[in-house]
Symmetry: C2
Subunit: 155 residues, 2 copies
């Protein structure tokens, strides 16, 4: 819809990026960008001819996606969090901060679980209790799996 004139490959003043540029700058494959778009994680305008043009904030969005993924969130969870971002305007620092606060707590929780797991592991796999209901390892395992809202692991 929004038509953009592109002056050169350098495109130093264009505020809209092509998919190739976004891929190069973010280190994400074009196919992944397409995929993120179909999953509603990022958006693009199209040129008259159908080529994608991204606003500058897409780079931040992508960065946030990768960070969240490495923290163990699924794309669906990330999309859900993104849904809380403002619709019309570009998200502000405060918007992102709100988002990250939630994830921080989630991470803290998962770190706690893993720590518990590790500590149990220290004394427990070698002991005889693993197959018994009393074993702390098996119980913390239960804690983990019963909390999962879908994905298996710490997802």
């Amino acid at each position: 819809m929004v038509e953009v004139k592109q002056n050169s490959k350098a495109k130093s003043k264009a505020s809209e990026l092509s998919v190739g540029e976004v891929a190069r700058r973010s280190g994400i494959a074009i196919s992944a960008l397409h995929f993120y778009e179909t999953e509603g994680l990022i958006k693009s305008q199209r040129t008259k001819s159908g080529h994608r043009r991204y606003g500058r904030d897409v780079l931040r969005r992508i960065a946030v996606i990768r960070v969240a993924q490495s923290a163990g969130l699924s794309l669906q969870e990330i999309a859900r969090a993104f849904a809380a971002l403002p619709d019309g305007r570009t998200p502000s620092a405060r918007d992102w901060a709100k988002l990250s606060a939630g994830w921080r707590d989630l991470l803290s929780e998962r770190i706690l679980q893993m720590t518990r797991l590790r500590d149990d592991l220290t004394g427990c796999i070698g002991c005889g209790c693993l197959s018994l209901d009393q074993c702390p390892l098996r119980n913390s395992e239960d804690r983990l799996s019963s909390e999962g809202s879908g994905a298996r692991l710490l997802l």
Copy 2:
């Protein structure tokens, strides 16, 4: 090959378990047990007619599998670790302990990464640096992803 006489459903003295029993006791679906077997994570003898019979240690093996999974290991990684277990005899407590020691270190490493990630997240998503190379978040992200020997997350 090993033929086993089964006296009743109670089967209190049988040292070999049927797949249904293992499923019931471990809480793992039969289909998952089959799957674990095809992946080399557990083994079974067969009765003359082809039904599976498991040794008692299978329950511990399964417990270890679930724990390792909840720690974020893939079945392949678990299988690799299991490959180090003794071939002929039932693994001893010491064998399991050795195995768990490796995983414990791995867990510690991942806990460290997540902690770093969380701490960076605290100050960083809301700040302006996320799209820059200097951002600690993006760098710790790199640390994470460059270490991955396959799976994306903490896997």
